[in-house]
Amino acid sequence: MSVLVLVEQLDGRVKDATLATLTAAAKLGDVVALVAGSGDAAVQAADAVSKVAGVSKVLLANDPAYANLLAENVAALVVPLMADHDAFLANATSIGKNVAPRVAALLDVMQVSDIVAVESADTFVRPIYAGNAVATVQSSDAKKVITVRATGFEKAATEGGSASVEPVTAPGDQGKSRFVGAETQESARPELTSAAVIVSGGRALGSEEQFHALIEPLADKLGAAIGASRAAVDAGFAPNDYQVGQTGKIVAPDVYVAVGISGAIQHLAGMKDSKTIIAINKDEDAPIFQVADVGLVGDLFQILPELTEKL
């Protein structure tokens, strides 16, 4: 089986989520990586992914139309390529979730979303109901379209491969949407979805100022990424890209520190696969303690400064 994987990159570096998707793809068959992008970054990314273990070929579509991976343009690129492949895999990220269903519908395929395991060439495991149930599903479509949840798969090694890079014809801009701009946070911290340690704050922090004043020093001490509950994001304490949960980011770090987060099922859905969960909350009956490996009941406004100082 030949598997086409949509690569996500940032400044020429292959994203961790893509490395996990490449691992999932290798369980299905021969892996062909598709880099759609614009300019030097795309060329660098193609070069980088050609070295990833298990990649047999890299296709490079270098065109300004792919600078922001607009779904309309990327789907128009992928669909004709799928004549030569049996499966299309994308990350279950905001890019993959936007592109893959468009590809699936154009191929008349029912997509399998958010897989966490590959059982066989047509059978996959995926969480449903915010992770409160796990379904094993079998696809009867001749071609498969799949999005992959990064926390379910190891990252492929970035060395060891020596795939050829081939340019592909780019159908270009489809004129169905136009990228206007982005507001993204530049941060020196590790990326939330691939960080080894995450410190996450909830509504109990009380304000944006206190969120910064208490969460950041602890995150600095632990070299951690910062996350937040939906309640904290809705209250304006933290930006939307911090949100961990069913509809935010799904994370599985080595250590997840939940501060002032009660643990709504929608939040737990995003972090309960973390290796070790540490919870600090003043309510000893908070549901977060049901999933926490280590819990401390108390006032976070006293605990956090003391903890940060003593670490």
Binding site: A100, P101, V103, V109, P127, V180, D241, T247, D254, L311
Partner: protein, 249 residues
């Protein structure tokens, strides 16, 4: 301008799903069902566009069991103008839903279809994108802000790195994220009024769409439970625990 808003009846947001003992799925017998929360946001956004004078009519549509009529009545009570119920014995998949919706779009000719980004039961996150593909329209998914200016929709999207804005020529598809708006509660008089708003009943056969599933669910299980943890009673004890994990030097 006409707006179309598809809505889905799902297990209520606050009900903890229970996996059936035979592993065939989640138990939906005698539990509270409600409108998918993202769809509620979509209905609210459509009504606000009508209140602003951008839209003239809001049509809601649901595909599924006959009881989805309750969900449509909720949308009508919020302020939608009329409803279409397409009843199906088969539990439709997003691809089938998108095909049916494409036919409804052909008939109704809306300029904008606003959908929830995902239903909280199957968490598929597909229908809006699939509908956009089948219609050949632009798609603004995971919207946290929507502005319609002339024949363009400007959609601010929640993406992994922050926010991103795209401009879509109309007609177009928008899918809603959590922070687009806060849906209103229907008032009692409006709930009463909704009972007399028009609701058309259809079947997939009326549209010539085959809903046969492509994916079969082999089994549904409870997720692995985490082992019970320990509570520590002081910051010092917590510091020791964290140090023992080896995450800091």
């Amino acid at each position: 301008m006409k707006l179309l808003v598809p809505v889905k009846r799902v297990l209520d947001y606050n009900v903890k799903p229970r996996v059936k003992a035979d592993g065939s799925g989640v138990d939906l017998a005698n539990v509270k069902m409600s409108m998918n929360p993202f769809d509620e946001i979509a209905v609210e956004e459509a009504i606000r566009l009508k209140e602003k004078g951008v839209a003239t009519e809001v049509v809601v549509v649901s595909i599924g069991e006959p009881k989805a009529q309750d969900t449509l009545r909720t949308a009508l009570a919020m302020g939608a103008d009329r409803a279409i119920l397409i009843t199906s014995d088969v539990r439709p998949e997003p691809l089938g839903v998108a095909k049916l919706l494409a036919k409804v779009v052909e008939e109704e000719q809306p300029q904008l279809v606003i959908l929830g980004k995902q239903a909280i039961d199957d968490d598929n996150n597909q229908t809006g994108q699939m509908l956009a593909a089948l219609l050949g329209w632009g798609q603004g998914t995971f919207a946290s802000k929507l502005e319609v200016a002339g024949d363009t929709a400007n959609v601010t999207r929640e993406v992994d790195g922050g926010l991103e804005t795209v401009a879509l020529p109309l007609p177009a598809i928008v899918t809603t994220d959590l922070r687009l708006n806060e849906p209103r509660y229907a008032s009692l008089p409006n709930i009463m009024k909704a009972k007399s708003k028009p609701l058309a009943q259809k079947t997939p056969a009326d549209y010539g769409v085959d809903l046969s599933p492509r994916i079969s669910v082999l089994k549904v299980e409870e997720p692995a439970k985490r082992a019970a943890g320990v509570k520590v009673d002081s910051v010092d004890a917590l510091v020791d625990k964290i140090k023992s994990l080896g995450v800091i030097a």
